[in-house]
Amino acid sequence: MPTAPEKSPAAAAAADYATLRELYRPHIESFDYFLDEGLDKMLLSIRPMEITDPSSNATLRNILRASLNFLFRSCSSKLCHLRGADSRKLIYHGEEATEMGGYFISGGMERLIRILIIQKRNYPMSMVRSSFVKRGEGYTDKAVVIRCVHLDQSSSVTVKLYYLQNGSARLGFWFGGREVLLPVGIVLKALVDTSDWEIGASLTCCYSDKHGNGKGVVGTELIGERTQIILDEVRALSLITRKQCLVHIGKYFRSVMDGFEKDDYETVAEAVIKDYILVHLQNDNHAKFNLLIFMLQKLYALVDQTASPDNPDALQFQEALLPGYLITVFLKDRIQDWMRKSKRVILEELTKNKSFELSNSMEIRKILSKHTTFVGRAIESLIKVGRANSQSMLDLPQRDGMTIQAERLNFHRYISHFRSVHRGAAFAKMRTTTVRKLLPESWGFLCPVHTPDGEPCGLLNHMTSTCRVSSCYNSEGAIKDFQKIKDKLLSELVRGGMTPLLPKIEHAGPPEILHVHLDGCIVGSIASAKIDEIVNYLRRLKLLSHPATPEDLEVGYVPLSLGGAYPGLYLFTSPARFVRPVKNLVSLPGGEPSIELIGPFEQAFMEIKCPDGGNGGRGTLFPATHEEIHPTAILSVVANLTPWSDHNQSPRNMYQCQMAKQTMGFSGQALKFRTDVKAFHLQTPQTPIVRTATYKKYHMDEFPSGTNAIVAVLSYTGYDMEDAMILNKSAVDRGMFRGDIYQTECIDLSSKRRENVPEVFAKSRLSRDTSDVIDSDGLPRVGEAVVPNEQYYSVYNTLTGAIRPVRLKGTEPATIDYVAVNGANSKGFLEKVNIRLRRKRNPIIGDKFSSRHGQKGVCSQLWPDIDMPFSEHTGMRPDLIINPHAFPSRMTIAMLIESIAAKAGSLHGKFIDATPFASSVKKEGENSSKYDSIVDELGPMLASYGFNYHGVEVLYSGLFGTYMNCEIFIGPVYYQRLRHMVSDKFQVRTTGRVDQVTRQPIGGRKHGGGIRFGEMERDALLAHGASYLLHDRLHTCSDYHIADVCSLCGSLLTATVIKSETQKKSKRNMLGVNTLKPPKNFACQACQTNKGMETVAMPYVFRYLAAELAAMNIKLDLRLSNRRESPPGNES
């Protein structure tokens, strides 16, 4: 399967990386929408504030004049000056040619807002959750929950409809930090002028006794009683009319709603309904009424088990929380908060300052200008530390960890950040693992392979390479007019046979009639016999790109079933839904490829077949209507790059996804112009001979990450045991896996200024040494090598005139790669510089390498060329030897195939296509694969060049010159060098710093500490009976101490130096008498004698313990004895 000849690099550069750009779109488009329209709409949706001067009764309205200064920008958003720049312009500006933006630059860091998975908006979901019982007495674990999002996307409110044991229901929503629970009857009556009969008729319409328990029946005869209970509840409160209900609600809320202190109860209640109850329907109370009725019906179906609960962990009921949306919501909250604060400030000013008048706008501006940065700083901190600080939860799943840093360790890691979706921090702490489960609903949207193992497993997922997120922009790049789409869609639906609903819900229900929901609004009903027709009609319109149907329209048809999901036709046009392309099998008149975008909600009820030519075991009853474009569509970008991943054991592909992200590769081509804190760079990377179709599609050649190493699989000398690998020293000499680490130090003298003394960079005038690393300006010379502890820049204190040279930390030599001066201070002195150091990292023993199949290993030896086995035929010596034991249990067959394929490819001078599942795709006009297996395809290629069919060769021992009896499997395999290197990790100590208190050696690699010889290690030595070694480790090499103990009183702490003794000593010294160390110059202070003084060797911590105990008035008494037989010698 050779690929087409490669395009020249120049031609590739000319391409505008459209495939890559697609991957970043959710981030950029959502923020673009925020700038284009979301911001304006959000500001308009903020209710104007009124301030009344109590003395003059003058009022000030609407103090909001949107004057927000943004301290941030999203790269490649419409505010970014590099927007729309082609690769040539980007290179000119010192950026990557493939720079796609999508992140914010804050404090020199590139940070992006993580996409979170949240509940699908505007869809009433039936849920069973034990925590609902705790809402109060009589509550059950069942509820219908709907997350309503404002049309302008500026806020969302989750409304829950709880089922009570008595058959009634309560409507709950969060208001000012706590949950408000209203009887549903009151809400129903408060919404519209209605009668009890009408409510009863609407509710009971879903039940009809003629159906019995047939297919699709959701109502039961209990509904009548329940309706009665609901209505009785309201009547018990003697609320009859709509007005009474509104007043009832208004009374409750007036004291807590901001800005409604003076309004009557009805206005307050209307505002509550508008702002908190089913907000996506805005002011349309009839629609709210209808939806609430529907929710009640669904709730009762859930309770009566005529409909199953919806799984909140399934992607079917989830959508994405996009950056632009998060910022809109958060910004709105902050502005409202700022307005409240401003109001308070103005009112305070009014009471304090008599001359202050509300009409004086200058004064007001002056007062407000004191905290204008409030909003900007909140947004900045959202991006910088990922914290959305707000009193209310804003209906967001979490407050912390909203943003992550876009690390440019290598391209795999970088792109993964933009494709990752997180389930939410709350789930990470949960002990249950159900949320982490891989569910079939996420097929094609979230990659089953690309999730880390360990703590975030299953919570941090990645979108598949073809997965998109529906946006507010249509394919032409214009903002969608949702109202227009809705109108057109409605007329199409009516044409298709829908009965529009004006304005009351139709008094019938499933199974004869199904309701049609459009973005959470019931728009009509269709006879269930006609529904298949209308669904097909809508899909056809979608394919024909009819204006009524946006390309990402989701036609969620839930069919009638026996106790399955609640039936209905749910249409969604909203943004932030996951969508992916599949092939529709309907043939279009023009014969165009009929690609349709489908969402996870509808996918669950669709028949999509694999493109292998079969029908996937479907009978004639459910023929496939759609077909996957390619099976690799279920894999993420990184998982797609693993060659022949369909031949590997599945966990190995997961490991590869993780290791690809730790690879030391080409982090970027603009490395010269960047000041990353740490950047890894491989000096001589190669393009893999064996690659998948994705490799080219996403221009991975711009960021290669490994080397085609000649790998021999044999057990040679034993140095390749247990995943160790032998590298060929000569190959390393010639440049294999060589690399550098770039570290940038940002030195800002103004930030750590001590006692307000300005410091500047300068060199001592006294030093005339020109060979010094430090140049005349106090900064290092570029290209100069610095060894540890060498001075490399110097700082001049302008007050004391002292020069403070700064030495290089660490134990590794470095080279000055680059010095950037970040402007000067007001006096023209240098204050802030970036110094980039380069450290050479050639492979050494202990460095980590991995193939692309989750086969990692550590270099155990750098073996010279002459000692490596050699092939008599070609004279080749392997670059790398791995042990055959790496294969049987891990079953990474693809690595073996890669070896054969790369060998065949290099002989023929071709790249080999290793796209997974290629054999499962039926190619048009080609009779199914010529070969049974890939090896049968590659074998003849090898044989035609005189190599063994199976990729093995006879090798000769490099040491003895005799040939090995066994044929050795040898061939090129693409190997990656991982960023874990011994140079960063080794820890060694003989002597060094000790702890001040315990006098034990300190820990920590940075401080030259040791590795803790801990409890388990102690146990091991005890078990071996290695008492001498134990004593050596824990005592002699640790805090060995000789203490003076008074055997009379047993005290360890009372020993004092005898003064007279020392005086005598000094006198003797003066007399020139030979000074012998006096035998006892200590005396016990308690016993006032030195008679009983003895020296005892003990750990110093023991003495410390004695001192600590003494501080608590506990005396530690040592009884000294010389008797051997007394079991432990010195004991307290």
Binding site: K672, Q683, K729, S730, A731, D733, R734, G735, R738, D740, G783, T815, D817, R838, K840, P864, D865, I866, F870, S871, E872, H873, T874, G875, M876, L942, A943, G946, F947, N948, Y949, V952, E953, V954, Y956, G958, L959, F960, G961, T962, Y963, E967
Partner: protein
């Protein structure tokens, strides 16, 4: 280890027959010796025949995209003509200069100065064009070849006339970039660093001794013979078009892969063929990097090997290894 009784000699007299000799390629037979001897010769050729390579680089100015170490590394890997290397001193043993590169006994100085002018054209800095040696005997191999060509002694073995003769690319410079450096080449051996290895490939094989069981072979049909012959990935056997007999066309193409033996067994004819390696004859293939000619490489290797053996022999008498300590 027991020594042989005095007087008993195991001395053999190996024979060398050169089959093919080009400037950078040689194929020869080594007979009447054992594998250890052959392997010693191979190892010495790869790792212990001295050559000259750039070892110290002083960079005056480097504004190219590649960092200093990278350029130094690339310079080191350029093969330099090293015919004089055997006569040179190792820098560490050089009394005249302490190895700082100022003496002609142990080092050769190189200069490189390149600057891309403002023409906008990318400038390729190559070993042929830009690397200037101070000693005509030691220069990049492609320069030497160009010189030979200019003299008219066009290398008859330089197979590929259309090939790339631009030399070895060191770095590409864009407009305004500059590279200026001084480099010192020293003598060294491949054991220390692969850049000093003069051998690209040195390999040998045992000469196979192929015996076809003719009686059994005759029982095969022509088709069976053909399929048997084709079971070998390399072309070892052939069928005589006239007699339709299987003949060994090229025994040395055999790679000891046992494919034909397995095939014979699969056909139900075990013992159809017997292949043994001749324990005492070897066929060597030598390719050089160009630093030395293949002939020089082989001869120098023998010299070095002999010196090493001398050192072992001298060790019996006294511990003085002389200059050979370097090779041990």
């Amino acid at each position: 280890m027991e020594r042989p009784a005095t007087g008993v000699t195991y001395q053999r007299f190996p024979r060398v027959k050169i089959r093919e000799l080009k400037d950078d390629y040689a194929k020869f037979e080594l007979r009447d010796t054992c594998a250890s001897m052959a392997n010693a010769l191979r190892r010495v050729m790869i790792a212990e025949v001295p050559t000259v390579a750039i070892d110290l680089v002083e960079i005056e100015s480097n504004s190219s995209v590649l960092n200093d170490e990278f350029i130094a590394h690339r310079l080191g890997l350029i093969p330099l003509t090293s015919s004089a290397a055997m006569g040179m001193r190792f820098s560490r043993d050089c009394d005249a200069c302490d190895g700082d590169g100022s003496c002609e006994h142990c080092s050769v100085e190189f200069h490189l100065a390149a600057r891309a002018t403002d023409s906008g054209q990318t400038l390729e800095v190559t070993s042929t064009k830009d690397l200037r040696s101070t000693d005509p005997k030691v220069c990049p191999v492609d320069q030497a070849r160009e010189y030979q060509q200019a003299l008219g002694n066009i290398d008859p073995y330089d197979g590929d006339p259309q090939g790339d003769h631009r030399g070895i690319l060191i770095v590409k410079l864009r407009r305004g970039q500059e590279l200026r450096l001084r480099a010192i080449a020293r003598k060294g051996i491949g054991k220390d660093h692969a850049k000093w290895s003069p051998a690209a490939t040195v390999t040998f094989m045992y000469e196979p001794d192929i015996r076809i069981n003719e009686e059994l072979m005759e029982t095969l049909t022509l088709e069976e013979k053909t399929s048997w012959v084709e079971s070998s990935p390399t072309k070892v056997f052939d069928i005589d078009p006239n007699t339709q007999q299987v003949v060994v066309s090229d025994p040395e193409a055999y790679t000891y892969d046992d494919e034909v033996i397995k095939k014979a067994e699969a056909m139900g004819k075990p013992g159809l063929i017997e292949i043994n390696a001749k324990e005492d004859s070897f066929v060597f293939t030598v390719e050089t990097t160009g630093a030395l000619t293949a002939y020089e490489l082989i001869m120098n290797a023998i010299t070095v090997l002999r010196q090493k053996l001398d050192a072992v022999r001298l060790q019996d008498d006294d511990a003085d290894l002389g200059e050979l300590g370097a090779h041990l």
